[in-house]
C-alpha cells in the first residue's frame, strides 16, 4: 500500500494533533501529583546531598568527646553522636553514600532482575536454569558474602553494592517473572509475534511495561533494605569505611544508645523514610504515567 500523498490541510491537522499531544503529556506530567511530590522529595534529597555539605557549620568528623550524646540544641541542631560529632552535618555528609548505595542497588537489581525474570518467563529452558541459579544465590548468607567480598576486594562502597545486588537480584527476578508469565500468555503478545516482532521487542517493548508495577514496589523495598543492610555490613568491615558517615551507620550507632539518645535513631530514620517515600511516589507516578486507566483525566 503506497503512502497516500497527504494534502496540506491534513498535514497541518496532524501537526496540530501532535503538538496538542505533547502539551497534554506535559500537562499530565505536571498534574501527576505523585510524580511531582516524589520528584520534589528526591530533588530535595539530591540538593541536600550535593550542596548540603557546603552549608553545614560543623565538620562531620570533628570530635568533641566531652560533648558526646548531646540532645538537640541551638549549637547542634540535631544533637551529637557518641563521639560528640555534629549529627546534622553527619547526616548530610552521609546522604551521598547512602543514596548512592540505595539507588545503585535498586537500579542494578531492577535491571538484572528484570533481565533474568523476563527471559526466564519467556524461554522455558532458561527458566529452569535461571531460577535454579536464583535459588542458589538467595541461599548464600549476605554476611558471609559481605565478609568474603571485603576480603577479596577490600572494604569500600562498591563492594557493598556488589554484595547487596547479588543478594537482592533473585528477589526482583522472581517477582518480575511471576508477573511476566501471565503477560506472556496474553493475546496481544501473540499478536506481536504475528507481527514478526523480535523476542527483544516483545520482551522489552511489551512484557516489560506490564511488569513495572510490581517492580516499583520491590525496588523501593530493596532501596530501603539496602540502606539498612549497608550499615549491618559495615559492622563487619564490609561497608562504608569508617569514619565516613552513612544514614544506616548512624542508625546502627543509635541502636546502642537507643535508651538515652533518641535523636540518633529518629533523625536518620526520618531521612530514610523520606527517601523511600520520594522514590516510591516517583515510581508510582511513573506507573501511573504508563497506566492508561489513570490517564483518564480527573473530575
Amino acid at each position: 500500500m503506497g503512502t497516500v500523498e497527504s494534502n496540506v490541510g491534513l498535514t497541518s491537522v496532524k501537526q496540530k494533533l501532535k503538538k496538542e499531544q505533547r502539551q497534554l503529556f506535559f500537562k499530565r506530567l505536571i498534574s501527576n501529583k505523585l510524580m511531582v511530590t516524589g520528584g520534589m522529595t528526591i530533588l530535595f534529597l539530591m540538593i541536600v546531598t550535593l550542596i548540603g555539605p557546603f552549608l553545614v557549620s560543623h565538620d562531620p568528623y570533628e570530635m568533641v568527646v566531652q560533648d558526646r550524646l548531646q540532645a538537640p540544641s541551638a549549637e547542634h541542631l540535631l544533637g551529637t553522636d557518641e563521639f560528640g560529632r555534629d549529627l546534622l552535618s553527619r547526616i548530610i555528609h552521609g546522604s551521598k553514600v547512602t543514596m548512592g548505595v540505595g539507588f545503585s542497588v535498586a537500579a542494578i537489581t531492577s535491571l538484572l532482575g528484570m533481565i533474568i525474570g523476563l527471559y526466564a518467563s519467556y524461554y522455558r529452558f532458561l527458566d529452569h536454569i535461571l531460577m535454579r541459579i536464583c535459588d542458589g544465590l538467595m541461599s548464600i548468607p549476605a554476611i558471609l558474602l559481605g565478609i568474603a567480598l571485603m576480603a577479596a576486594l577490600g572494604p569500600n562502597t562498591k563492594n557493598v553494592i556488589i554484595a547487596l545486588s547479588i543478594v537482592f537480584t533473585p528477589h526482583v527476578a522472581r517477582v518480575i517473572r511471576s508477573a511476566a508469565i501471565v503477560v506472556r500468555e496474553q493475546t496481544y503478545i501473540e499478536a506481536m509475534k504475528a507481527q514478526g516482532a523480535s523476542t527483544w521487542r516483545i520482551i522489552w517493548g511489551h512484557m516489560m511495561p506490564n511488569t513495572i508495577s510490581p517492580l516499583v514496589v520491590q525496588a523501593t523495598f530493596i532501596f530501603a533494605d539496602a540502606i539498612i543492610t549497608e550499615a549491618a555490613l559495615s559492622f563487619l568491615g564490609a561497608g562504608v569505611p569508617a569514619p565516613d558517615p552513612s544514614w544506616g551507620n548512624i542508625l546502627y550507632d543509635g541502636k546502642l544508645v537507643i535508651f538515652n539518645a533518641w535523636w540518633m535513631t529518629v533523625f536518620p530514620g526520618i531521612m530514610i523514610v523520606l527517601s523511600v517515600l520520594g522514590l516510591n511516589l516517583l515510581g508510582d507516578g511513573l506507573r501511573d504515567l504508563i497506566d492508561p486507566h489513570t490517564n483518564q483525566g480527573k473530575k
Binding site: M1, T3, V4, S6, L10, V13, K14, L17, K18, Q21, L24, Q186, T187, Y188, E190, A191, M192, K193, A194, Q195, G196, A197, S198, T199, R201, G205, H206, P209, N210, I290, D291, P292, H293, N295
Partner: protein, 336 residues
C-alpha cells in the same frame, strides 16, 4: 466482474501461493495440576485440513463455531505449534523455518485476530500499537511512521485523533478496525483475517470490505477470510471452504457453493442465514442430534450424528475430499 474473475481462474492453474497440507493441531486436555495424573485426552481442534491460497484471491473459511477456524489461522502463522502438517509458502515449509526466518516471513503473512480487545496491548496508545509493525519491519523513519499510521486510520474509517487513544477507550468496532489496520499497514502478501468485520455496523463494514477489495486489486493481496456472516463471505470471497469439527468438508467457488451446496452441513448453514427483511421468514434446515465434541469426534464422518441424510457407511468410513466438478470438492458419502 468477469475480467477479474478470469484472471483469478487463470491463476488457479499455477502453483498456489500458500499450500496447506494435512494440517493437524491437537490440544492436550489437562486437569488443574497440568499433566499430573496423565493426559486426559486431546482436543482435535484441527484434524487434517488441506487447502490452497492462490495469489490475489480471497478464500473464505466458514464453519460452525469451535470447528477450528481460528486455530487453523494461528497455526499457519505458527503462533501455536502445529501437531502435524505442512504449510508451503514460496517453496518453503513455514513450519520448518527458523525463528529468525519466520519472523521475517511475518511481514508477508499477517493476521487479524478474532478478539480485537485482547489482541491490543492495553498500555499502548493505538498509534504506538500500529507503529510497532512498521518499526519491526523497519519501514520508514519515525516521522513517516506516524503519518502512515494516521493514513491507515482514516482508511479504515477512523479519525486521526484515535492515534492517541487507548484500546479501552474505543468501541468494539473501532478496536476491530485497529486490528485490521495493524495487519494492513506492513503491506503483507497474505492476510489471515479472523472475523475482521463482525463487530462493524453495515455501513462501516461496507467501507472496510471495499477497502479490502481495493487493496487486493492494487497489490495482489491474498486473504484467508474467516467469518460467520455468509453474505459478507459470499461478497468478498472467490472460493469458500466449509469446516466442521476440525475437518474441511466442502470447498467450492463462491457462486457455486451458494447456489448448489452439496454437503448437508453447508446446506444447513446457508438456510440459516437471516434475511434483512422482517416480513420474510424463511424455512431453515434445523440440525438435530447431539452436538459432537472435538474431544471425542464421532467415528466415520464427523457430521453423521446430525446429518439428515446419514447412512450406515457414514458411521464407519471417513469420507475423503473429492472433486465433484471443477473447483468444487466435497467430503461426503452421499456423492460417492
Amino acid at each position: 466482474m468477469s475480467e477479474q474473475q478470469i484472471v483469478k481462474i487463470g491463476k488457479e492453474q499455477e502453483t498456489p501461493l500458500l499450500d496447506i497440507q494435512g494440517l493437524k493441531k491437537y490440544f492436550p486436555v489437562k486437569g488443574p495440576l497440568g499433566n499430573l495424573g496423565g493426559k486426559k485426552g486431546m482436543v482435535k481442534a484441527v484434524n487434517n485440513v488441506s487447502f490452497q491460497l492462490f495469489e490475489g484471491e480471497t478464500y473464505g473459511l466458514v464453519g460452525e463455531s469451535g470447528c477450528g477456524k481460528s486455530t487453523t489461522g494461528r497455526t499457519i502463522l505458527r503462533l501455536i505449534e502445529p501437531t502435524e502438517g505442512k504449510a508451503m509458502y514460496k517453496n518453503k515449509d513455514l513450519f520448518q523455518l527458523s525463528g529468525k526466518e519466520s519472523r521475517k516471513m511475518r511481514q508477508e503473512l499477517q493476521m487479524v485476530f478474532q478478539d480485537p480487545y485482547s489482541s491490543l496491548n492495553p498500555r499502548k496508545r493505538i498509534g504506538q500499537s500500529l507503529e510497532e509493525p512498521l518499526a519491526i519491519h523497519q519501514i520508514g523513519n519515525k516521522r513517516d511512521r506516524t503519518d502512515l499510521v494516521m493514513d491507515i486510520l482514516e482508511k479504515v474509517g477512523m479519525r486521526i485523533d484515535h492515534y492517541y487513544r487507548y484500546p479501552h477507550e474505543l468501541s468494539g468496532g473501532q478496536r476491530q478496525r485497529i486490528g485490521l489496520a495493524r495487519a494492513l499497514i506492513v503491506n503483507p502478501k497474505i492476510i489471515i483475517a479472523d472475523e475482521p468485520v463482525s463487530a462493524l455496523d453495515v455501513s462501516i463494514q461496507s467501507q472496510v470490505i471495499n477497502l479490502l477489495q481495493e487493496l487486493q486489486e492494487e497489490m495482489k493481496l491474498t486473504y484467508l477470510f474467516i467469518a460467520h456472516d455468509i453474505s459478507v463471505v459470499r461478497h468478498i470471497s472467490d472460493r469458500i471452504g466449509v469446516m466442521y469439527l476440525g475437518n474441511l468438508v466442502e470447498e467450492a467457488r463462491t457462486d457455486e457453493l451458494v447456489e448448489s451446496a452439496l454437503h448437508p452441513y453447508t446446506q444447513a448453514l446457508l438456510s440459516a442465514v437471516p434475511l434483512p427483511n422482517p416480513k420474510m421468514k424463511k424455512e431453515r434446515v434445523v440440525l438435530k442430534g447431539e452436538l459432537p465434541s472435538p474431544l471425542h469426534p464421532p467415528s466415520g464422518c464427523v457430521f453423521h450424528t446430525r446429518c439428515p441424510f446419514a447412512m450406515d457407511v457414514c458411521k464407519q468410513k471417513v469420507p475423503v475430499m473429492e472433486a465433484r466438478s471443477k473447483d468444487h470438492q466435497v467430503a461426503c458419502h452421499l456423492y460417492e
